[in-house]
Structure formats: structure tokens, C-alpha cells
Symmetry: C2
Subunit: 368 residues, 2 copies
């Protein structure tokens, strides 16, 4: 399972599908597989790895299918093998066929799985395997599997995307001075970090106010060389568009100007004509968006907080005091300290000259 | 000098005097001291340590005197020895006699010093030593010596105390909700850390507004056992008053109520009847206060920031959003981002569930 989890982590953090790894194990060396009896899941003898696979993103084979393909490529027979997989094999036909059936067809004798599949359209794989006479062991290192799939599981269980709110403020909570000037409060290291986060989410959301005021590109840009092409205006600084570009989602009733930079090279542009947070999330869920990054401005951030829709908070804080200006979030109806939106700190780190505080909703993301 | 710096660091961080360490070295083993010639400061042979000393705080012997006393206690003759001392030996009689004279009287042949003494009343030690025929080498590992004495040097060079402003806020910069409730925004680990800082400063300053609203004790309390006595109301929780209690300074024109907790067990109470930050600092400088911790409230913190009098910022930030309420600092006349009070981050760390961002005035505290 350690290896399966390692393989799973190679998959992309973004996308509609979970990161899954699968290892196919043969019988212990020297042992002959007992007739009809499945090999025990607790086994003192290390078993040979026959094949392995992981899911590389929507439209590509699932981890189990990838491992079976790997076995075929190696010319290995997997009849009687044990499949160790980080997530319950699916039982439905989506972009690919049901993995449970593929494992049965290949003659796999036992499946050891980590996390049960919460996806209502895909669940039932374990049942299907058992019905076909395959031994199934569930829950092996499920806590680690859940942590790896934390965002995806939260989104799939709830049916709406996991929401990360990003703020970049002074120590006293401002995003701009009284006259609206704001470049730059946080430093280049914080901005670079934020771009790496963008490259791992499915969608970036801003309000029309921010769109009209700042004319952002809403792309994920990364430093250094890679297979991506150079963004024309930044060619000189060796900053390139990341390979994965999240959806660019604009929320609000005002229009997106024809010359807006958000219409340039980058992810697909989606304009959700509403001010209702629930409606935004439903529209994005329909597009199989699992992870949304809310980048502002204050009106939109406040709306998401007021709706209790923020799962995770990425607060970049600069060692700057303004004393007045435009606040990152403003007035979501908290009158007394007991009603404050309290998060649970996950990480505090220095990013250049700024601090990054990552925290999560106290009741979200608990695993194990 | 490494050993001398180690010894210096044993001294208290608070108090009017600097932390200084002194090591007395004999001639290299086997070598006879050349007649009249001072031993070279660059010496391939390790020299025997004859004695050592450090300053334990105002009213106790200076490091050089402590080292000479250590030599006497050991029955060692220090004639012809080299004194390695982290700060230039003083040339004045304060609570103790001039160290330069004591070194000359003891027959020390050479003094290697780290940092020049900036104290206008104490400087001149190197000159006095040279006049008496002692060889003087200056500036050995001065950068490390300056770092150890950073706060003290800044205060003595400028003639007013070094000011650390402490804030404890939500991520959006509030110290209390709209109805005034605030207990607790930051957690117990942050409060405990703040008490350790209190035990290292000379004075804690609050405004009369905070005094009347919160009725704080303004003591330094620490966990666990020690030579200090138990604060009566906290006996049960094994929290005790720290050995060193800073001055308790109340700033403002309103009176301190007779029953105020700030009048209870703890540091001396000083009421400065002014609203002028410069006057507060002058009054404290007269009392040889080197390090002031400004704890609030918002009016006082804002006054110190507006006066440009904050050298260091300790911002405890809780993973909480309020959206409205009472702000830690408010409106010190910054209209545009270029005029923001920008600090330089020294440290970002997690303290319990909170973040602590330590930053310093960009032009202050630069050493080396």
C-alpha cells in the first residue's frame, strides 16, 4: 500500500478524478497458491510486484486499468494475483470501463483497498468484486489514502467543490490603501507560491468588481522551463504558463469586457451570472470542478464566508501596516467573538518576506 | 571570543546594562612571554583559559570584574594575560568602578574586544587602556556581538528605549468583535509566549483606555516551578510570576483606579500623564529603560506607529475572521500604498494554533 500511495501521488492534484495508485502482487515466492483459497492479506513473505499503475487524469486509464496494461506489456499473467489499490475500484462506465470488472476478467483473486469510493455513480466496486468471488479487504491505511484524497473526497461526498479562499493582506487586514493602490503588498515569493496553488486547482473565481478594477489574467504561471509555451508579455522573465490552466470563473451581473485579459491565453472563461454562492458552486459541480480557489475581491470573499462555504483559507500576510484602506473581507454579520469564523491551523510558513497561514474549517478535512 | 559570547548570553536580556562576557587567557603553553612585547592576537597555539566572567545585571560586577574575581578565587596570576571581552571595557564609575582601570591594575597585557561601547558616559575604555600601555585589538566578531546586544545598542545609541509593539489579532486585523468581546482570539500557547517576552523587557506600556477596559495585571507569568512566588489567583494552574517583572507603565490623562489589578503584585507601576509618545520614551529613558513592550490598546499602538517609534513588531495572528469589530491599529494617516509602514520579516513561526510574525523597522537593527 505504501507503493500504491506513492504511485497515486504522481497523479495530478486537479481534475474531476481522484489520484489513485494500484500495485499487482504475485503469490509469495516459493508458495503455490492454495486451490480456491485467496492468499491471506497478512503475509510474512514479501510478494513479488507483478505490475503497477496510477491514474494520470480524466480521460486516461484508471489506476487498476493502468496496472493491468502494465502487466500485459510485461507479459505477466495476473491470474490469482492480489491488487492493492488506494481507492475502491469503480463499478461504473464513465470515460473508461468499470475497473471492478476488469480486475475480475483478469483473474485477480484478491483486492486490498484503502478508501471506500464515496462517488455515488462509481461506488459498489467492492460488492461487485465479492459477487464475482474475489476476496476484498477494505480500509488498509485508509487514513493516508483519505489525506491524499482530502479535497476530492470532500467535494464528492458533498456534491459541491472544495473551496479555498486566498487572501493577500497587510498585518492589519488590508488589500489596498485608502486610495486603492495595492501593488505590491505581498512579495514575489508569495505571488509565485500562489501561482503554484492555481496550477493545482480546477477553477479560479473572482467577482466582476475585481475583474473590472484589476483586469487580472487568472492564469497559473510558473518559473523555469517546461513543456508549456511562453506567455508573450512575460517572455523576458522566463515565466511560463503552467501546463494545467484552471477554469477562469467570473461571478456577478456585470459583463466581461471584450478586451479583458481574462479572455487571453489560459483556462476556459466561464461567466456565472449570479451573486448567489450556492448557485456558483452548483454550476461548477455540474462541470465536475472539485477544487475552487476564490481570489476575491472583498465582496466575493465576504459572500463565500457569509455562506459558510470556505473549506480552507490561504492567508498571505505581509509585514506591513496600513491603518486604513480596503479590507480583504468585510462585515459578514459577526457581532460577538463566539460567532467568529474560526479555522484550524494546518501550516504556518514564511514565504519570502511574508507569512502564509493555511487553515481549514474546523469540521472539514478531518480524517482517520 | 566564542566562549566570551557564550558567557555574555548568560546574562539577563532585560535591565539597563548590556550582556557582556570576558575570558582571561594566559600565554601559549611552553612559551615565555617576551619582555615588554604583548602577545600577538593571531596565535596558532591555543592558550590556557585563566578565568572567565559575565555580567549578571545592574548592580553586579561587570564581566571584566567578574573574570578578575574568578582569577583571584582560583589563585591565578593574570599579569601579562589577554582579556577577550565582547564589549569595549567601560571607562567610567557607575554602580561599579571602571573596568579599563581594573584590567590595567591587574597587569593585563592585551585586550581583544568585540563591539565598541556606544554609551556616551562609558566610552573611552580602549583609549584609556592604550594610554596605560595595554595593546588593544578591536572589532573581533563584532557582528555577533552586535546581534547579541542589538536591542541595547539601538537604545543606547539613540538615547531612547527600543520599542516592540505586540498585537494579537484575527487574520483580518481585529482585536475584538463589534460588541467588544475578545476572549480569546489567540490561544494559550501565544499568550504563554507573550509572557516569556514580557519577562525579557524592561517595561510594558498600555494606555489608560485599555487599563480601564480590561483591568490587566501586566505581569510576566511563567509555567512550572522556580524561585518565584505563586500569584495567588493562579496558584492552582502552576503559573507563577517570573523572577523579573517589567515596569508597568500606564500612559494617558485618566487616573489609575485604586483597585486596578495593575497595582497588585508585580513590577513597579509608573503612570505617565501624557499622550505624547516622545515624552513617554524620554521619561522611560531617564529610568534607564532599554526595551519597551507596547501592548495596546489600539489608540496607543496607533500613536506609537504614527510617531514612527516602533522598532519591532510581534504580531500574533489567530486563524479567525471577524469581518468587523475593533482594530489593533487604526488610521495613522497612510493614504497610499507607498506610505505604508513596511517592516522586514525576521521570523515566522507557528505558536499553538496561531502564527507569530516578528518583523523590524527596515532601517533599524541592521548589524555588521
Amino acid at each position: 500500500m505504501t507503493r500504491a500511495l506513492e504511485l497515486a501521488a504522481r497523479g495530478p492534484a486537479h481534475g474531476p478524478n481522484p489520484r489513485v495508485g494500484c500495485v499487482l502482487l504475485g503469490p509469495p515466492p516459493g508458495a503455490t497458491l492454495p486451490d480456491g483459497a485467496a492468499p491471506g492479506s497478512i503475509d510474512p513473505h514479501p510478494r513479488p510486484v507483478l505490475a503497477e499503475g496510477w491514474h494520470r487524469g480524466a480521460g486516461t486509464p484508471h489506476a487498476e486499468a493502468a496496472a493491468l496494461a502494465d502487466a500485459r506489456a510485461r507479459g505477466v499473467d495476473v491470474a490469482g494475483a492480489t491488487a492493492v489499490v488506494t481507492l475502491e475500484p469503480c463499478a461504473h462506465t464513465g470515460r473508461t470501463g468499470p475497473c471492478a470488472d476488469a480486475l475480475v476478467a483478469a483473474g485477480v483473486a484478491e483486492v486490498v483497498l484503502g478508501v471506500d469510493d464515496p462517488n455515488p455513480v462509481a461506488t459498489g466496486g467492492a460488492h461487485r468484486l465479492r459477487a464475482a468471488g474475489v476476496r476484498v479487504v477494505r480500509g488498509l491505511r485508509a487514513a493516508e489514502g483519505e489525506e491524499l484524497l482530502r479535497v476530492w473526497l470532500a467535494a464528492v461526498r458533498r456534491g459541491t467543490p472544495y473551496v479555498t479562499l486566498k487572501t493577500a493582506t497587510t498585518l492589519d487586514g488590508y488589500v489596498a490603501a485608502a486610495d486603492g493602490t495595492s501593488r505590491w503588498i505581498t512579495g514575489p515569493a508569495a505571488r509565485e507560491h500562489a501561482h503554484r496553488v492555481r496550477a493545482e486547482v480546477d477553477a479560479i473565481v473572482v467577482g466582476t468588481g475585481t475583474l473590472l478594477a484589476d483586469d487580472p489574467e487568472l492564469t497559473a504561471r510558473v518559473r523555469g522551463h517546461g513543456p508549456s509555451h511562453v506567455a508573450a508579455h512575460e517572455a523576458a522573465s522566463a515565466v511560463r504558463l503552467a501546463e494545467h490552466q484552471p477554469l477562469r470563473v467570473v461571478v456577478g451581473l456585470r459583463g466581461v469586457p471584450p478586451a479583458a485579459r481574462v479572455r487571453g491565453e489560459g483556462g476556459e472563461l466561464v461567466h456565472v451570472l449570479t451573486r448567489d454562492v450556492g448557485e456558483v458552486l452548483e454550476r461548477l459541480a455540474e462541470r465536475e470542478v472539485r477544487h475552487v480557489l476564490v481570489e476575491g475581491g472583498p465582496t466575493l470573499a465576504t459572500a463565500f464566508l457569509a455562506a459558510g462555504a470556505v473549506d480552507e483559507l490561504h492567508a498571505y500576510v505581509a509585514p506591513v501596516l496600513l491603518g486604513s484602506g480596503r479590507r480583504a473581507v468585510d462585515g459578514f454579520g459577526v457581532a460577538t467573538i463566539a460567532d467568529a469564523h474560526r479555522f484550524r491551523t494546518v501550516e504556518v510558513r514564511r514565504v519570502g518576506d511574508d507569512a502564509l497561514v493555511v487553515s481549514r474549517k474546523s469540521t472539514e478535512g478531518r480524517v482517520g
